[in-house]
Symmetry: C2
Subunit: 286 residues, 2 copies
């Protein structure tokens, strides 16, 4: 039976990392908030292809939740997570820091990261301070682990772009590997927050993806009236009972809006909607 190596303290983490470093190993980090599902396992598989040693971290970061958000009820399933990782045998280390380890001076007076304007757009407009909070924890994890590779899922695409920007702007020598969205059989993007959906909500949730897909198809056929296409998608999503927050066509590399597109720019369609107690997000590359 595979035995899962875990580290909770900084010293036990460093001990393991030092050993790997001394033998010239490449290390990949897969940061998660736990409640591991197949989407996370895909990230870990890709990490395995990119490095010699794979570390998965589980840390529910209080700093990225607003006061009215779901920090206290976010699904925490440490025993299940460990069982999955033991069964799969695909990570070399599970890092389980507590809040005091990550934020040694407390969360209220922590040194924080301020990301550029994109952090206040799209999901950032709905969740003020969210991406700065994500940056604050990810920078700490990167400094603690100094991985060669950071593996991030494409579902949180805006997060990936912003973290890539942070890493480049702060000159961290880290490669980012993005991983395609993993979906349920009906198309819904896998997410821990899908657990918040009732059976009825779950049945209409794939409409978000379907609408983004239809919009992307229209773009592929040459349509370019972005605001009209976005409106059609929003109406479709609202008609079935979701509360759309945004549907938008952006540039893939930096999420710049359509007004800044150049002829050869690759595009991506992103959307977000509320559904019951959940907020679901998704995206489709054109």
């Amino acid at each position: 039976m595979y035995s899962l190596l875990t580290a909770r303290s900084t010293s036990s983490l460093q001990k393991k990392l030092d050993l790997w470093r001394s033998t010239g190993c490449r290390v990949a980090l897969v940061p998660t908030m736990g409640n591991l599902h197949e989407g996370h396992l895909r990230l870990i598989d890709i990490a395995r292809l990119s490095a010699d040693q794979v570390v998965c971290s589980i840390f529910v970061n209080p700093v990225q939740f607003a006061e009215d958000e779901d920090f206290s009820c976010y699904p925490r399933t440490p025993d299940d997570d460990m069982a999955v990782l033991v069964e799969q045998g695909v990570v070399d280390l599970l890092y389980l820091p507590d809040v005091d380890t990550i934020y040694p001076y407390g969360t209220d007076s922590a040194v924080s990261i301020q990301l550029p304007a994109l952090s206040k757009d799209l999901c950032g407009a709905m969740r003020p301070g969210h991406f700065n909070g994500v940056a604050s924890v990810v920078l700490r994890l990167l400094n603690l682990l100094a991985p060669d590779v950071l593996v991030l899922g494409d579902k949180d695409y805006q997060q990936k772009i912003l973290l890539e920007r942070m890493i480049r702007d702060l000159h961290l020598p880290i490669e980012i590997v993005g991983v395609e969205i993993h979906r349920e059989s009906d198309g819904l993007a896998m997410s821990s927050r899908n657990a918040y959906l009732s059976a009825e909500e779950r049945s209409i949730a794939p409409t978000l993806y379907a609408s983004l897909l239809a919009l992307a198809d229209a773009l592929r056929k040459g349509e370019t009236n972005y605001s009209q296409l976005e409106l059609i998608a929003i109406k479709k999503i609202a008609a079935i009972g979701l509360e759309p927050e945004y549907v938008t066509v952006r540039r893939v590399c930096d999420l710049a809006p359509a007004g800044l597109f150049k002829p050869d720019d690759k595009r991506i369609v992103l959307g977000a909607a509320k559904l019951g107690h959940a907020r679901i997000i998704d995206n489709v590359r054109v």
Copy 2:
């Protein structure tokens, strides 16, 4: 004749650093804004004692100057600086990045660092955003160079405490070495900005240090009426023609104010004043 090795680009910097790393060398960084004086040379001497290889950086960081401050007229003397370093033969590498190298996405939309409340106190109250700007450049330098040791002067004591806080809070594996203030023969702390002083201003400038020294002496004798002692010092400084900004007794380790002192806390007296076109700061440990 000693020939000074310089790096301007990130690639030439990394090439040299990689070579050192591969042989297990410890690297110290002495970050400066140039216009090198004897105070800087002391920092370099101490760096030499703490590491195998010493890098001095010269970079006038636009982000730490407010719009009404002296960024454009800050003394820049690159030829003199290089001549001094060649003559002294004490640094292994002079790092001279330009603004585009340090801030690849520009200064206006750069990822920035927000320091805790102390950054808005003392010098930070007089220079809003200054310490966040310092943190933003120092974090980039630390990421670019990954030094084992960061050497900082005690003259900018609040800066040293805040950078230490940033380094610990962000989990950077870097040792900070502080270096005592180097003074002119009449006691004035050495500073590039002393060049802004007229002959007459220069003659009264040491009053700041003398007043802090007197306050520290009173504390050593057991006096504890901090606010009264601070007021006496401020009056003395103002009487001779300086414009005092603050004189304050704080805890050495974190600059906490007197109200938070515990019996065995070590104390430090800090002061700042305007004098002509210069702003002079100083401190004395009790």
